[in-house]
């Protein structure tokens, strides 16, 4: 990274933070308090959103990319990938074939509990070792720990079964273990099925910024995290924390424990494999619920326990990760505010909209500039750059899921562990889209009522003087409705199953990588 870039990012973030301070000074003026309870709620929701933006900037300031280190020969490497009942054999055919094409010497292990002899057959055909691990508690992580006990390799790559690694995968990663303090090396994640549906495109878009500037910033703060798939661990590192973490956020839990134990992590922002994103809305929601519920374990369990041994930048980073899904609590607050005003005239804050725009504009402009600037650090700029509006639409649509995850985490209730679906699952439209349809219905009724009241229920002497407030609120209510159309479309699309499986047209020999 050029110094000029770092200076530009720091300068922009500085301007942005000055804008945030000015905004805070203005926001919390005494005469801005409308209905006190609602003001508090609105302030919490609004400042949570600003806090997320600022955290993003703080992350960007630390942006860093590790220097490549050549992989020296002589390391013993294992690749673990897991199969569970119901997962499609054809996908494993490709994954195992891709593993066998990896250049650096290694042993591939299939951690299998399908009780299906065809999986063993398949593994043997691709020179992989099939470890049959039946009835192991702790799902995927449990099997990994069991396999660790059964193997001896110094380094272990945990590969998601839907991910097809490129031949140079290990060559780009192994060199970083020359530093004895490195506990794990994570690489970027990319997909090969994002063009197959709106949901897939949106779900993929949501990850671009994270696997690009997001993780690079975390790396700069010494806290780049393991993300389930494509993470290479040092066996001795896992041993110091008693094995791979277990639970819905097993990857994050493992990462934070390793960091707390003093291990370093490296993030290689390169696309070295391609896998699957959920293609239908139902699967996407299930994946998001799992993540939302799981990530809170970082905030509720791991962080309080381990904070003392983490460095402050790591603490901040894990706090940022652990509170990400509070978005599900704040979104409904934003949604309901215009309706409260339009139906019963209650206002949380007595701010002039014009003034708000003026004061918030610098923050917004800096946010937009940094967002655009960060696109330079996307892992695969050719396919990933642009305005990620599908991702945003899906994120807004996900608030009930995030809210459910939050509530489940607070009451410490479990979500059953479901592996993210590999193939599209047919979903019923209404079941998936009802929150959005409800919102749209409420919106239309409200619009009709507002029009009726404006045409014949408002005194002529009040009409012009109330126009700014009423139509401003109406516009505020319109934004989420527009965003929800994306989710409605995604649900509509999810009604029918795609004719083919995503991997049908994939040739492992050409999926990617330098040789392809």
């Amino acid at each position: 990274m050029r110094p000029i870039d770092r200076i530009a990012i720091a300068a922009l973030a500085g301007v942005g933070i000055a804008g945030v301070l000015r905004l805070a000074d203005w926001w919390f003026r005494g005469d801005h308090v409308g209905q006190p309870v609602l003001f508090v709620l609105l302030s919490l929701a609004f400042w949570y959103a600003v806090w997320r933006i600022v955290l993003g900037w703080v992350n960007y300031v630390a942006l860093a990319k590790p220097e490549h280190r050549d992989a020296l020969p002589g390391r013993s490497v294992a690749i673990f990938t897991t199969s569970t009942p119901g997962e499609p054999l054809a996908m494993f055919d490709r994954t195992l074939e891709a593993c066998s094409r990896i250049c650096y010497p290694h042993t591939t292990y299939l951690l299998d509990d399908t009780r299906d002899p065809r999986f063993r057959e398949l593994a043997e055909r691709h020179n992989a070792v099939c470890l049959e691990l039946l009835d192991v508690p702790g799902a995927k992580a449990g099997k990994i720990n069991r396999a660790l006990a059964a193997t001896t390799e110094e380094l272990v790559l945990v590969l998601d079964p839907d991910h097809m690694p490129f031949p140079e995968f290990l060559d780009r990663v192994i060199g970083h273990f020359d530093d004895d303090r490195v506990g794990f090396v994570q690489v970027s994640q990319a997909y090969y099925n994002q063009a197959r549906s709106f949901t897939a495109a949106g779900a993929a878009e949501q990850t671009y910024a994270f696997y690009g500037p997001g993780q690079m910033g975390l790396y700069g703060h010494g806290a780049c995290v393991a993300i389930g798939a494509n993470c290479t661990f040092r066996r001795t590192a896992l041993e110091t924390i008693g094995g791979h973490g277990i639970g819905l956020a097993e990857d994050l839990v493992t990462a934070i424990r390793l960091h707390a134990a003093g291990w370093k992590s490296v993030y290689v922002p390169e696309v070295l494999s391609r896998g699957l994103v959920p293609e239908d809305l139902g699967s996407f929601y299930r994946q998001q619920l799992k993540w939302a519920r799981g990530v809170y374990e970082v905030a509720f369990t791991e962080l309080p326990r381990l904070a003392r041994t983490l460095r402050w930048r790591q603490r901040l980073s894990y706090l940022a990760i652990g509170t990400y899904y509070l978005f599900g609590v704040t979104t409904p607050l934003f949604l309901i505010i215009p309706y409260l005003f339009l139906w019963i005239g209650v206002q949380p804050a007595t701010m002039r909209f014009a003034e708000f725009v003026t004061v918030a504009a610098p923050v917004g402009v800096v946010g937009a500039l940094l967002y655009l600037m960060m696109q330079r650090w996307l892992c695969d700029r050719a396919t990933e750059r642009g305005i990620h509006w599908r991702g945003l639409a899906l994120k807004i649509a996900c608030w009930p899921v995030f809210l459910a995850g939050t509530l489940l985490a607070i009451v410490r209730a479990d979500v059953p562990y479901i592996p993210t679906a590999k193939e599209a699952v047919r979903g019923r439209f209404l079941r998936l889209a009802w929150p959005q349809l409800l919102l749209i219905a409420v919106y239309i009724v409200t619009l009709a009522r507002v029009l009726a009241v404006r045409i014949s229920g408002t005194g002529e002497g009040s009409l012009e003087l109330s126009a700014e407030a009423v139509w401003g609120m109406m516009a505020f209510a319109t934004l989420p409705v527009i965003a929800s159309l994306g989710a409605v479309y995604a649900a509509w699309e999810s009604r029918r199953m795609p004719a083919s499986a995503p991997w049908d047209d994939i040739d492992v020999a050409t999926i990617g990588g330098r040789d392809a």
């Binding site: 014009a354 002529e460 002497g461 009040s462 009409l463 012009e464 700014e468």
Partner: protein
């Protein structure tokens, strides 16, 4: 690039940048940035457009019933020498709503051609040019009357290093106004007044001769300072092109020597005063008729040769017959006081500017008074 090309490019850039900076600062006011000022006008325009759409949908808007006023409403000249007497009102609902004025005119069945709002000087957003309410009044077909009060202490010292510190600011404050210390505010207001285009009345620094009420009174200022400030403000407006403003000079005629505060024929378009009967609720007051409050001063007011406005007109309920008070005053108004060309009802429920308790000036809930007013306003219907 050749050297002269480079110089030309740099010069062009500098000119554009300077133009942008000047343009932006011209858009904004001292207390409001260009963005919020523009958004304020945008909000007012939205309301005006919605109002027009609704008028299309719903037949007879109020504006169409005030068609007779149109020639006056759009002409500063006609409003300087009106050949009719205009009714008006201030309603306590303003600037949130003007429905109170409309309700009043429905009750008394006479059109309120003037609508009064009060606007104070200062840094707060609500102390800037009241574009939304003025646009709304225009949309209703009436003429705005702004009582513009120079509360100098509402400016933050930090934001205006050029003005006196707050503690001593009211002392000879009008001299500071005349000196140009407050031009940052006056000029911004004047520019927006010019942009508003429609004629409207400004009653600036009213009751300047009352030493107990407002900081711009004689306890802090000499009458020469007052006249200097008045003329300075009017000059700034004229320079800004705000010739659509009609200047209403409004002393408190109960105090002596009020006529010495007159700023001159070239600087005042109307003369005005308040006619408020507090009845016996205040120590200094008793039940006074309009003849007692106003009649004794009328000749002198009319002698300036300007149209006369009763800018605050009303009576409290306690201490006499309010219906009779209004009937006596209104029925004979055009005959007894022909120079009176505007009469503005003062209708607010919780006035505490003079007394220490809230007093209610409204009469629409009293059917006897409403009837008396309605019957006495035959001359005001067009």
């Amino acid at each position: 690039m050749k050297r002269r090309h480079r110089i030309a490019v740099v010069a062009a850039f500098l000119i554009c940048a300077a133009g942008a900076v000047l343009g932006l600062s011209a858009l904004g006011t001292a207390s409001e940035g260009p963005l919020s000022t523009t958004l304020g006008w945008l909000g007012a325009a939205t309301g005006a457009i919605e109002h027009r759409i609704r008028n299309r949908l719903r037949g007879t808007p109020r504006r169409s019933m005030l068609a007779w006023l149109e020639p006056y409403r759009t002409s500063t000249e006609r409003l300087r020498k009106p050949d009719v007497t205009l009714l008006g009102a201030f309603d306590g609902g303003a600037p949130r709503t003007l429905d109170g004025v409309l309700a009043l005119e429905a009750r008394v069945r006479a059109p309120m051609a003037l609508m009064q709002v009060y606007s104070a000087w200062g840094d707060k957003p609500e102390q800037q040019f009241p574009v939304s309410v003025l646009t709304a009044i225009e949309g209703l077909g009436s003429i705005p009357l702004v009582t513009w009060e120079p509360w100098l202490t509402d400016f933050e010292s930090v934001r205006h290093p050029g003005i006196a510190l707050r503690d001593g600011r009211d002392q000879h404050g009008l001299a500071a106004v005349a000196r140009g210390d407050y031009d940052f505010y006056i000029d911004a207001w004047a520019a927006q007044a010019a942009r508003f285009k429609q004629p409207f009345f400004v009653r600036f620094a009213h009751e300047m001769n009352d030493p107990y009420r407002y900081p711009w009174g004689p306890q802090n200022n000499t009458k020469e300072e007052y006249i200097g400030a008045w003329r300075h403000v009017v000059d700034r407006f004229r320079r800004a092109g705000a010739t659509n403003v009609l200047w209403v000079w409004s002393p408190h005629v109960a105090y002596e020597y009020w006529d010495l505060y007159y700023p001159g024929d070239a600087y005042a378009d109307w003369v005005a005063t308040g006619v408020l009967n507090f009845g016996p609720i205040a120590q200094w007051s008793r039940w006074w008729s309009v003849a007692e409050i106003f009649g004794t001063k009328y000749e002198r007011l009319a002698s300036f040769g300007k149209p006369v406005m009763i800018a605050e007109f009303g009576s409290l309920a306690v201490g006499g017959d309010r219906a009779a008070w209004y009937r006596d005053a209104l029925a004979s108004m055009p005959v007894k006081y022909p120079a009176v060309r505007a009469l503005v009802f003062f209708q607010t429920r919780d006035d505490q500017t003079v007394t220490y308790q809230k007093v209610d000036w409204t009469f629409t809930s009293d059917s006897l008074v409403t009837q008396a007013v309605r019957e006495s306003l035959g001359w005001a219907r067009h």
